[in-house]
Each structure stands twice: as C-alpha cells, then as structure tokens.
Symmetry: C2
Subunit: 283 residues, 2 copies
C-alpha cells in the first residue's frame, strides 16, 4: 500500500498543530488531501482519532478553519482528521458541472457506474485507505476511532459507522442527510454513482442500515429548526422512526433557530467532541 | 445622518445571532457592510461593544466565521462588530489591481490624495459613522467601547485607540503592523492614500502616536514567532521600544511557533475578549 505523504502547510493551533497533507490514493486513483489536528497530548502518548466528513462543496479545509473544534480536541485529547469530499481533477466529463454532484460531492459511496467508478471510491477511501495512512503516520490508538460529519458528511458518518460497528466506536452528525434514497440530493448522487437499481442504494442509506445493524452507544444528532434543507433534504424524523423501530438509541436534538451553517456547527461542536471523547476514552 | 440599515443574512450562534448588514455610507460615499454578533444577554440589557478590524483582503465575514469569538463574547457579555476593510465597487482605476492596496486594503486612514480621497475614508468611517450607526440600532453601552484587530486591522485598532482615548477604553491586537511608516505595506498605502509628505503619515503610525498619547490601560498584543511577515512588515519591537520610552503599559506576548493565520487568532481570542471585557465592565 502506498503511504507516501506530502506535507503541505502546518499551523500552530491551541498548542498543537493543524497540518495539511496530500498523498497518492490507490483507492481513488489520484492525489487526495486531508487535514490533521494533533493536540499537545499527542506528543507524549497515542490518542483516539475522530474523523470529520464535510458537506457538499467543502474541501479538507472548511472544518478545520470554521468549526472551532481544535480547542475541544485539545481539551479532550483526541486527534481530528478531515478528508476532502471527493476526488479532484479526475478529468471525468461533467465532474465540475454541478455543485451537488461530482467534485466536492463524492457522497462517501463506492461508485459502480461509468464514468465515476474509476475514481469515486470515497467509501473505501474513508473507511480503509485513510485510516491505514493515519495509523501509519500519526500517534493514534487505532482501536479508538470515532466519526462525525455535516450534511452529506453526516450521511457519510452514519453509513460508515453502521456498516463498520467494530471499527467506529462513536458516531454523531450535524444536520445529516439521513435518508438519501428519499431526497433529491441522494437520489441524484445514487442514480449517477450507483445506477438505477434502488436495491443497491440501501447499503448507503442510514435509515435502511439501522434496521439491520444497531450500535452499542447512542447516536448523537443536532439539527437546526431554521435549516432551509430540513424538510426537503434532511428529514431527521425518518431516521428517528427507523431507530425507534430497530431499538437503536438516538439522541436527536432539534436546535431552535439554527440553520445549516458553520455558525450552527461551531455552537455545538464542544458537545460532539465531548460525546466522542467519553466513549473513545472509556472501557 | 443616514442610518438606513439593510439586513442581509442572520445566523443563530451560541444562543445569540451573527447578522450581516449593508448601509449607504455618507463617509465612504457608497454601500458599506458590517457584521454584528449579539450575545443572548443583549436581549435583556445594553452591553459593551467591541470592534474588530480585519487584515488585508478580508471582508466583514472572515472574523465572524473563523475566529471562534462568539462563544467568548457570549460568556463575557460583549457585542462584537466587524466592518469591511475598504470601500468596494468605488470604480476607482486600479482599485482591484493589488491585494495589499485598494479594495480590501483601506488601511483605516482618511485618504487625502486623488483618486482615493472621495471614497477611502476608513478612519472616519470606523471611528465616527459606524459607532453612530451601532448606537442607533443595537443595545450597546455607548460609553463602553473597545477595539481590536489583526495585521492591517491591528494597526487600525491601535491608531483608532491612540487618537481617541476617550472613545475606546480598551485596545488589543493580533500581529499588528505597528510601524507602518517603516514597512513596505505601510509605505505603499500611505504614499498613495496620504501623499509623499511623510509628516502626514505620523498620525496613522502607532509607534509615533504613542509617544504623545498614552492610554490608561495596558495594551495587549499577541505576535507569533513563526509569522512570515514578522521581520519585514510587523516589527513589534519598534512599538515595544516606543511604549517603553513613552511610559505606555504594554503586554507584548511572543507566541512560540504561531503564524499569521486565523489558527493563531482563534487560539488566543479568548484571552483578548476577556481582557476587553474586564476593562469594559469595570468602573
């Protein structure tokens, strides 16, 4: 496995470092970028690692520069990793045409359809190649991994956790797409990446997956009530009903007046990191 | 005085609101934008107000979305206001040519030279028109104003405070340009905005101003040691020496390994807001 990392910029932050990296991805067949926050405690001992999956149009940078997460990662002793949201520069016709599909919108699936399948393998990248690279290069407790995300990345986090309950001990999300099969963003992405057969979509739909796999710990979701995507694209009540049916513990917090932005994420990021740290540091 | 405000976006944040506004500026002869963070306490009582002046290339947005300031403004009960860094769309030839001059680079001076003087009146805008608008529209304790900023905006904050010690009770800065007369950024801006006579530059140079006006409270400055602009553009030691000569109390903290970015600002924003709040809430 190629694990060559090219260090890009590094910034001191809350006595630790935010670092940008690029590497040749065997999964996505091209250069991929990610960011890592190493809190000060990582200089003296391995720490749990918490992956953040970003939403549509984001890169590996947005979360690190807007969420205000580092102070709480430092306080709680967890390493943060934020990958990019898709391959870039794959030279696939149409990849730059839409803001909600293609570049910046990998949807954390392994595409099976042409012309996407050669590069758009974000599910395998996030769950396999990236964790192997992180384990090889950073002082992480590899058996202590959590995952969270926002919007499309909240969908990604839920799917990664529900399909790999042994790998991810904790999962949470901000304003996630919980039922991609039922909403326009998901239907557009799945049709193009996975094809017309909706049966193949189920393995990337959290509200379907939770019916067959439950997680040990309660899932934490924050959702703003003033989010303009709430009714059409997010539909947290679908996941809430599926969790209730399946017996999956869920803490769904409807946050009055909050929207879909990083102003919302930054307000509740402390709660999420503390939630993950409590699970990742226990047992 | 025209005080017509056009509300743009509003975002819930830490139980308060981040709001963007546009208004016709009589000082800058065109539309100007600013952002306001109202913490939850502002719903029940007037609060002190703290102005943040941003650096080169920034708009009224950067500070609000990257500094992580809102949580500490909420905690300490201060209103935050961040203006844009220059007039925009003034249609002055060359205004868009340089990243360090013209649009996004007003340098918080009142230009006296053609073609800039008709619009580029950022000193008067920040110290007079903007505070009047804020006082007219928001629940501020108008006799409790503080000011801080970053880089070019650190220069602006120091100059505004030193020239108006009765107006601003507290002043601090992140990586400020403290001696603009001696550095390339300042020399370029002052030559174009103020003309070739360097005598006219002194009233916009903190290291000159502090020799004749001292402030009651200690000035707080944080400066990263890994800041690539440190030696050529920032030169905090010049201000340190001037303060020592003048008897002005100064807390200059050289922060090991930090650079010029918002990762640096976010790390120390809590200290700055607490510093201002202690002064603004005292007496």
């Amino acid at each position: 496995m190629s694990q060559l990392l090219t260090p890009l910029n590094t910034y001191a932050c809350f006595n630790g470092t935010v670092s940008f990296y690029s590497h040749p991805s065997t999964t996505c067949k091209g250069e991929m970028k990610f960011t890592v926050y190493l809190p000060p405690r990582s200089q003296s001992e391995p720490l749990p690692v918490l992956y953040f999956l970003s939403g549509l149009t984001c890169t590996e940078e947005n979360f690190m520069v807007k969420a205000g997460a580092q102070q709480f990662a430092a306080k709680n002793g967890v390493i943060l990793v934020a990958p990019d949201t898709s391959p870039r520069g794959a030279n696939i016709p149409g990849e730059e045409d839409d803001w909600d599909f293609g570049t910046g919108a990998g949807f954390y699936v392994d595409a099976t359809q042409e012309p996407w399948r050669s590069h758009y393998q974000m599910y395998s990248y996030v769950t396999q190649e990236l964790p192997a690279i992180i384990a090889a290069h950073f002082p992480v407790k590899i058996d202590r991994q959590g995952i969270f995300g926002h919007s499309m990345g909240g969908h990604g986090a839920l799917v990664c956790a529900l399909r790999n309950p042994e790998q991810y001990r904790s999962v949470s999300a901000f304003a996630p797409i919980v039922a991609p099969m039922r909403v326009p963003w998901g239907q557009k992405a799945f049709t193009n990446y996975l094809g017309a057969d909706e049966e193949t979509w189920r393995s990337y739909d959290a509200s379907e997956l939770v019916l067959t796999t439950q997680l040990k710990h309660s899932i934490l979701i924050d959702q703003g009530t003033a989010d303009t995507f709430l009714e059409k694209q997010l539909m947290p009540q679908v996941f809430e009903q599926a969790c209730a049916k399946a017996g999956q513990p869920l803490t769904l917090r409807m946050q009055d007046g909050y929207d879909h932005s990083y102003y919302f994420i930054s307000t509740f990021i402390e709660d999420h990191i503390r939630y993950h740290a409590e699970i990742l540091w226990s047992e």
